[in-house]
Symmetry: D2
Subunit: 283 residues, 4 copies
């Protein structure tokens, strides 16, 4: 019996890096976490313990810090593409490099409408992400939002679904809709200003969520993806993962009180989990 | 040998509640987590398994949801005080009630400068907290900020400290100063508008952090507490817990490059942990 | 321009369930977390908000609890297969059901070599998992171990790798090797006793890890997968994800002391991340 | 108005250290996390930014690693006492040192009843802790168990409690009792073999939990503390924190089925939180 090594990859994850970008009148602070993963001609590493083609993951980490000095100056997309290219170009044994960057959001402090030159507030769960998969022929660039927590207090219902013997859920035409979503999209080609485009797509997603008359999570998920594809020709495919963070109406009737959609149990688990991918016909 | 039951308390933690407050032109969403802890005449519960004076923690939870309908309408401080009073008044066996509330921050979405009437973005780590400790004579009210992540890229140094045989840290007059801090303060008396006061104290804390020429975390911690006590006569004591989230200069010299305070390793652990309590003399 | 809905799925995650199985002389406690995900004829749910084919995720949750009474009596694999079959059989609009179960480990307390009939210790990170993907023709059954934390203090080295200008890692023929691994394998057919087989495969994996002379994480990963495929004909493919939880030699030389592989900095991040899939030739 | 600096302290937290202890026939692996906190004559650090009496937290970290080589050879209690003494003795400005150590549990692998000389399984949530508070006159030594998750499937009830208008909980004489508890105890004097004593106290706690006919969490908490104080004269005070991890009977009646205490919803939040401290009379 012969054993075959199929897919394999290795790399360094959770490379946490911060950078001060020094302008004459102010500082910017950027904080990112980088994952590097490489695959290629590594069969003998596994089968023989032969490391001569192995670029150590410690070296990958050093490389990210070293290259950040001159090449992490604009978007995480641009830095990620530079990193992927660097590893592919300098290591002929590598056939594919996957680089993922997550940017943690720092907001400049403002006092009396004056932005402070070097002080920031952080701590949001929402993060900007990018993923680059690059081989010697192709580059796949995707960007996305991770852990975006959004909620609407109305314009959301869920009715006319299947009832079977295990159904206890009550229909409602007015509920809280809340989701901590991950949304990623694939670009056709590398856009000239990925940071600006990211902000525009984010705004578009929020606007659809806010204004949509939602008949289900699926219904709004589709509307959000549809609007992005129709507004941004740069985007060829979008995937939305929308866990439903249930806010369950608390039963006040048992105490002789009415609950007119006012008081809810905010729950984390269990949670509905709705996913969908939309793309353009013919692509 | 006789055994004595000293301190004891019981209650319900992590009661997660959301509430829609419905105005004619807009909704507010409030999301809180409530902890209740009671102590009093509970010796026989422990020693005999006699439950006749036990208000079940499940009932505490129900009570929080039921009272939220009519009494959680303004600040978490006001609702917390109402809850503490409710448990003390209705249960003569209770000598002390501790109520803690944490408010999770939802920000209204804004499109083209128009605040949206019912859609929100959440997900920040920063939370507004309040703690009430109440017995039949006294009420202690404290408010605070939890998990406030702040950073400044300059105006911070650390020099002239002790050097011994285990010292490897290098002195610096220019470093990143970042902390995910918990800050709580005790009010003399219940203020008329705790939410407004909270925002003003938060702003004061951020402003001191941003503008202080920091010679150490302790130095800035003290300045922040000092400014709050001097600006807000309502505050009689303030405690600051400021973990030092180190951003460590990456050694680029080993690669023949200079690192002019640009590229850092962002670390979570180990972390410095600095705490201090300030109050007014003579109190 | 036309938009197409590609992949889509929905379900309920994190359905936490415990069950007491009552034997005449003892109780067993089983605790599982279940994820259900369904796909099928759901296009109009997305595009029209038409819910008439939607089985609500709340009903999925109820179904899991209801079916657990009579059908969660042996392995999680058997219960998962029953659940997948239930959803497919009772809902013609569903083309594929994915069911994942994670079992949390409770160990019976033992006093003076006597197993206690109804008391248990839990709290391990290690979990037994199973994943079932089932459509009207095929059933794919995989089992695995999640968050298995293992460590060896010797018989592990890493040498003879590429050195480039960003290399700072020192070669070593004796290091700590620690990994919190996820290992999953696919069965050819449903085995008669999946719980027993799981324990045997787990033992095999630990034994290879313990006794292998490791020249790299990859080298040991391959050896572990290879041994499972050679020992268990029921397994047709195995995937190992082995993050390298680095224990870094602390530099005691700077204090005039020697560190003969004794004192280490135990780190979580950044971490090496090594993955591989092995299968039999010709399959 | 004058401001006073009351309590203040500083130190380093989360110093993660592993050590191989090399015996002729086997290795031991020990993994600990250390927190150091110092207080003393540090007023001017805060008020003037004068650092000349500051031992940097980075130096504390280095010191822990350096001293681990020769002095972390037996129990965490012994190493903690050595560390506390070191900081007090070498820094006259320090009036009090608090040292906390947490040991993460590694279990030796066993194959065919043979303990393996250098391979281990870890990953349990349960940890052994110790806290030392030391000044120039006194040493307070406490030890404890953190995150011990235990469960019993019977011999636990909760009845005859207060009913009021918000009561919905049903009385039961047979429920699951599960708690992830933190238990710490204070020693009169430093015991000769703290590791052995720790294991004996842990066993005693488990045995009481397993065999007690529980009428409430409080009732069992008291019994556990009582038994430790009566069995171990070295212990003068014990504090138990016992969150009630509720397993809630799932309502199968709504589907025409019976649930004879078989199927439960396993919940994390909200949770009951019961605490108590017991000591000997006259102390």
């Amino acid at each position: 019996m012969d054993i075959r090594l199929d897919k394999n990859a290795y790399g360094k994850n959770a490379i946490h890096l911060s950078k001060i970008i020094r302008h004459p009148d102010r500082h910017d602070i950027r904080q990112i976490s980088v994952n590097i993963s490489l695959s290629g001609d590594f069969e003998k590493v596994h089968t023989e313990g032969n490391n001569k083609k192995v670029l150590p993951t410690d070296t990958m980490k050093n490389t990210v810090y070293a290259l950040a000095k001159d090449h992490f100056t604009t978007s995480i997309e641009a830095f990620g593409l530079y990193l992927a290219d660097h590893f592919l170009t300098n290591n002929s044994q590598i056939s594919e490099a996957t680089v993922s960057l997550t940017e943690h959001c720092w907001k400049r402090m403002i006092f009396d409408d004056d932005p402070h030159p070097h002080s920031f507030v952080g701590g949001g769960s929402e993060k900007h992400e990018t993923h680059i998969i690059k081989d010697h022929q192709h580059t796949l660039l995707s960007s996305g939002i991770k852990d975006l927590l959004i909620l609407k207090t109305t314009d959301s219902g869920f009715e006319h679904y299947i009832k079977d013997k295990y159904t206890t859920l009550k229909e409602t035409d007015d509920r809280i809709f809340s989701t901590e979503c991950d949304i990623t999209w694939i670009y056709d080609t590398v856009p000239p200003d990925p940071e600006h485009l990211y902000q525009a797509i984010r705004e578009n997603l929020l606007h659809t969520f806010a204004t949509h008359k939602s008949l289900s999570v699926q219904h709004t998920l589709y509307a959000m993806g549809d609007a992005v594809l129709k507004t941004f020709p740069e985007v060829k495919e979008i995937t939305l993962k929308m866990p439903n963070k249930h806010h369950i109406l608390f039963n006040l009737q048992q105490f002789g009180m009415e609950n007119n959609n006012e008081v809810f149990i905010a729950t984390d688990e269990p949670y509905g989990y709705i996913t969908g991918t939309l793309s353009r016909q013919g692509q």
